[in-house]
């Protein structure tokens, strides 16, 4: 009897520390994808508190030590580094957990510039993309981004760029014809579109003719003003006519109307008349009495 009591006492003494000090311990995955379901396994017995603490989120819940704490799908969705802390009736245990962005792109930030530019500019259009998952996490794993600049009149320009730390960029040429082009960035099934307005460039091959308006005036008129790609330069663009005679010079700025610029200037025999638009020079005419 005494022997049985002694054995029982020894077993109790051996078992007691394990029972009293059965605070929790944690088994935490090294990393999980944002929004995915996972479990944190605890050991021990009794009640404890589980904390998941990071810059992106905080979760606190009571747990039964010895059971698994189930983190439901969508619960922990912000990527980052987290502390997983378990407190109970024993020592606190702390581990780290990395939440990585979900693999599937769901959103793009697409920065395109400019929104309007002249036709025919090499690398004149730039686009930069940041790729995000459904929870707004920047996807830092490499992802191919397809850029496409399309216009109604020309074959589309395409580029495929792999993201580095979530970012990708490209340059495109503006097309030869004026109009609105679509600049699209695709990542998988996610796309973002910007409209890039392409306007005619500077006048090219500016030409004028001169004819008598009356006895005292000469009528000057340009041919339809176009850029080097044949696009009509917009009405309102200023054309400058200059007449030099003797030591005098007269200058008249005229806006293009219906594609041409016209003006009447004094008819000085021997005058030299020139035409220009901005820095683009046109032809010269030596005016003589007709």
């Amino acid at each position: 009897m005494i022997r049985r009591f002694a054995i029982a006492l020894i077993l109790f003494v051996l078992a007691a520390p394990a029972t009293i000090a059965q605070g929790g311990s944690l088994t935490v995955p090294d990393s999980v994808a944002a929004g995915s379901a996972f479990s944190i396994h605890t050991s021990g017995s009794g009640q404890g508190t589980l904390y998941i603490v990071g810059l992106g989120q905080v979760i606190k819940r009571d747990v039964q030590l010895g059971d698994a704490a189930f983190i439901a799908e969508g619960s922990l969705h912000n990527a980052g580094q987290y502390l997983v802390i378990l407190t109970g009736n024993g020592p606190t245990e702390t581990q780290t957990l990395a939440v990585t962005p979900a693999a599937q792109p769901a959103d793009l930030t697409f920065l395109a510039k400019p929104s309007r530019l002249p036709v025919g500019l090499h690398d004149g259009i730039t686009g930069a993309v940041y790729v995000f998952d459904a929870y707004g996490n920047l996807i830092t794993a490499p992802v191919p981004v397809n850029f496409e600049l399309s216009s109604p009149s020309e074959p589309a320009q395409t580029r495929t760029v792999i993201t580095q730390d979530g970012a990708a960029w490209t340059e495109m040429n503006s097309t030869a014809h004026q109009g609105s082009d679509k600049f699209v960035a695709h990542v998988g099934s996610v796309a973002s579109t910007r409209i890039v307005g392409q306007v005619p460039g500077d006048p090219c091959g500016l030409q004028m003719t001169a004819s008598p308006a009356d006895q005292r005036k000469v009528k000057l008129a340009t041919a339809p003003v176009r850029d080097c790609n044949g696009n009509a330069v917009p009405d309102g663009t200023i054309v400058t006519f200059t007449e030099a005679y003797g030591n005098s010079q007269s200058t008249v700025d005229v806006p293009i109307k219906r594609g041409v610029a016209e003006v009447e200037m004094p008819a000085h025999p021997g005058a030299v008349i020139s035409v220009a638009s901005g820095v683009v020079m046109g032809n010269q005419i030596h005016w003589e009495r007709p």
């Binding site: 810059l55 802390i85 730039t126 707004g136």
Partner: protein, 167 residues
């Protein structure tokens, strides 16, 4: 290297001059030369300004998370980063938690300046301590070494943090 050291000196000087707390003043800041993808040239003043504002954002974030005051984020954060930190602070407050982040070292490198000049991406390998309090009772303290990806966007007079994400 000389440029990196120069920037380091300026940034650290700016941090101290701005009256950062003791923890921030002691934080080591190293700036590696930029490893830029993209056609945009990054002016030295722009680089210094972005880094200065980013370190200021850490200061604001520390205070906001310690005091559970999301309003402290308004100057330095915008967009996703601000939304997520604000939500975290609300969750902390609801759970009776506050956290102290003490950054000990920042190793910074700017890796992308978008062509239109509207965003800067940098990598910050940070060493910091996190102490978690539950109703002012310290629950746990842990040293963290993490690589942060940061997106900054320009506001009127400063760069603001739009994405702050550890890997």
């Amino acid at each position: 290297m000389a440029r990196a050291l120069l920037v380091y000196g300026l940034v650290l000087g700016a941090g101290i001059a701005a009256g950062q707390g003791a923890a921030a003043g002691q934080a080591t800041v190293r700036v590696a030369p930029s490893r830029l993808q993209g056609p945009h040239v990054l002016a030295e003043q722009t680089e210094q300004g972005a880094i200065r504002d980013y370190l200021e954002a850490w200061k604001a974030m520390r205070a906001a998370l310690d005091q559970n005051q999301p309003g402290l984020l308004n100057v330095d954060f915008v967009g996703t980063a601000k939304d997520k930190l604000t939500e975290t602070i609300h969750e902390q407050a609801a759970a009776g938690i506050h956290t102290q982040y003490r950054d000990r070292a920042h190793n910074l490198q700017i890796i992308f300046y978008s062509p239109e000049g509207l965003s800067i991406e940098l990598i910050d390998t940070v060493d910091y301590d996190v102490q978690v309090f539950d109703h002012d009772h310290s629950v746990s303290t842990k040293q963290i070494h993490a690589r942060y990806v940061v997106l900054l966007t320009p506001a009127e007079v400063r760069w603001r943090v739009r994405v702050l994400q550890a890997e």
